[in-house]
Amino acid sequence: MAERVVIDPLTRIEGHLRIEIESDAGKIARAWSETTQFRGLEEIVTGRDPRDVWAFVQRICGVCTSVHAIASISAVENAIGSNPPPQARLIRDMVLASQEIQDHVIHFYHLHALDFVNVAAAATADPAAAVEFARQIGSTWKGNTLERMTAVRDTVRAILDSGQLSIFTGGYWDHPDYRLPPEADLMAVAHYLDALEFQRSMIRVGTVFGGKNPHPNFLVGGMACTIDPNHSESINQVQIDQIQDWIAESVEFVGTCYVPDALAIVGVYKDYFDIGAAQPNFLAVGMAGATFAGDPATSTLSSAHTAVRPGVLLDGDLATVHPFDLTKIAEWASSAWYSYEDGDVGLTPDRGETTVAYTGPTPPYTWLADNPEYTWCKAPRYDGKAVQVGPVARVLLAYAQGHERTKQIVDDAAATLGISLDQLNSTAGRTLARAVECLTSAEILANETFPTFAKKLRGGDIEVFDASRWAPDSWPDHATGVSFVEVARGNLSHWVAIDGGAVSHYQAVVPTTWLAGGRDAQGQQGPYEESLAGNGLHPLADPSQPLEPLRTIHSFDPCMSCAVHVLDSSAEELEAVTS
């Protein structure tokens, strides 16, 4: 007899996600991914000055802060023919990289770890054993001291003793599937706290250039922050020295703390390399941070990440890289609360429509999935297929193209864990891929992007703004632009049309939309749904403590505000972008 299970709110994510499940004998039989927030930003940006729109769409998401702003200014620059100087592009690359590293670290420790780490058990641990556990897993993090572990254990004890469990209230601490030894739990909680301190420090890379975080400032045509070795009011050697330190902190934390922790945890929960597979199709336009203004097939790469080219892996064939073709992207609204003029069809982003047609119950409600429509999230498909985006897609693409460092880290991890490459398509695989990518991103930032920027600055390259296309009278009367950016959660594209100096059409296709969307007209499930209910084998031992599906959904790093975002409301055609 199937049992209905609702997880709402699904916590430790960005935004509002509801998962409805039918489970049977401890396994998930059916699942529905339901996004329960809509803001309608599409209508709001229409008619605005395109130079302002980055500030609006940046507010799509505060976890993915910066990424929508950079995608927006890149799309507008593509439309109006603006060419940000190389130093401005490098600054954006550094901001993107620091955001991505921070985002991955926050995701692993603060959003995902409690699926595997038992905080209550940490209070019982021997601090010396925690130090020893860290040593055994190869963690050389400076925080692995007896004093620190003792202090953290006492902190956890004090919280538990108080009877007021704060953010740990209602946690599944008696669930039998928490498997780490107590000393590992304690080490992980200590690193949870260390990671808070780390992210606060390293995010300052972006603050130097954008003035604040979250939601730093950006500029169509370049950057507003001036750089000049001989001006105190510009970014100079003082900030360069600071940034160098914060980047070094990043390499240290990711290398000595995050990666060993991730490897250790997925090693204990190794069966999760066989749980949570979604469709074996993967799409990316490069490594994390890759940014294109215009169609990647023809445009100039604007970022430093040139080693891996755009591509798509299909049907589980992880060796054959298909060329990326933006015309193969289409979005379905079959299970979403929108209506299309031509009915239940897939629309390419340049023809997207977003007419609200809510058919769900009036809140409060208890069950949504009896209706064919159950979400605010559309369902994008590539060449008709549901695809995965994000770290796992990028790591597999880099691997397929022979990116040496990625191959080395993946091969080492696979050998240690005894897994095959195709097992990265799994709950544990997505979590492992994120850690792998975080390390390569930190190394590229430290060894390539930042040194290039600093060297050029020393050489007198101080220009950060293309003034030639700032004035609206320098723009064509009608223009369209697109950008593709590989952001923390996956492939992001923004599409803009400008008429008479104002935005006439705006659309974004966002990583979580690719992943969290529901069923399409062919009945094909979205990746979240497939990962839970693809083979009827996903465990759910105790429906009142849905720890196992939380692990799987968290492995995607959901960002629901992003998923339902800036969509076209006008049904107006956006011209194909060819430049």
């Binding site: 916590t11 809509f38 930003l41 507010r59 469990l165 003035g211």
Partner: protein, 383 residues
Amino acid sequence: MPYHPDAWQAPTLGENLKRAGVTRREFLAFCGVLAGIFAGGAAGAPKASAEQIADKLAAVTKPNVVWLQLQECTGCMESTLRSGGTTVEEVVLKLLSVNYNELVMAASGDAANKALAATNAEPHILVVNGSIPLKDNGIYCTIGGESAEQVLRASAENATAILAVGACAVWGSVQASRPNPTGAVGVDEIIRDRPVINVAGCPPIGEVITATVAYLLAHDDVPQTDAEGRPLFAYDQRIHDSCPRRPHFDAGQYVRTFDDEAARNGWCLYEMGCKGPSTFSACPIFQWNLHTSWPIGAGHPCIGCTERHFFDRFTPFYRVLPNVRGFGVEGTAEKIGWGLVGATVAGVAIHAGATAVRHATARKTEAAEPLNAFGDDPAGTEE
């Protein structure tokens, strides 16, 4: 074998901190940070010493907190994570019991909803991020099957203090901008019978968010606010008045194009559309991210994100504000007086009103005119 609670014997925070190994010296250092923050912007407000704050904090038991996230982007929680010196989050973990917050809490689904219901049933502090979409029976944001309005009303009922944190909770922010498709409003549009403290900004500075919570505990009262409900300790100064670039404004030294020589010299961004003259915030005083920089400091004009309806009233962002005339040192006194505009006058009016106005309902009638912008009607007032 899970650890079983057995030893919370001391009734107060101070005793329990001591038991947990936090020394008086460490605690005072933390309170010193708070004292600095409170003193930073609070003109006329009594200044508390670290000692006084420590004594007050140490005497309280752990308050329970419900920290909602309604229709929003999670930027305010991210800003909260960025708050403070090195030991603040540890102390705050010990200071408060945040029993419900979707971003960080361990439990999901039923277990989370139970934690919420249990905390709602007792006195608690309510912090709200996000707006409330009222159109179409609240279908545009539901949590646990309930509309944002239903969630908010249930959590407000027994709240002893209500903080609306961030532009969405204060007035609706980007989704409430024209044409406000989901009918998004701020918390004080729903909760009208009690004061709502509006911690403005998109997002607010992390230190300001946590300091507002700490203020409640340290002072055992809500902070003094301006007519818009913003705590004076962080919103009593116009950016223009505390901006380190102000001398360049007064001297008529302006950036004319991004990345020009004037920009490299840190001259005034007024001509680039800076909204500092119409914006109340302590950004130049506290700065952002461990005092690293702030928007104008990094060369970009202020977009006025602590002001209501800034996405409508302050756009285009790069257009020069009307009614704030640039002038040089040679300008006449009359010109200078006029150059400082209504903004100064309006600012005085706001703060004069603030001391008397403690309730959101009263605020509606006593609020000063909106500060100078482009004369647009704010979204929602235009039918």
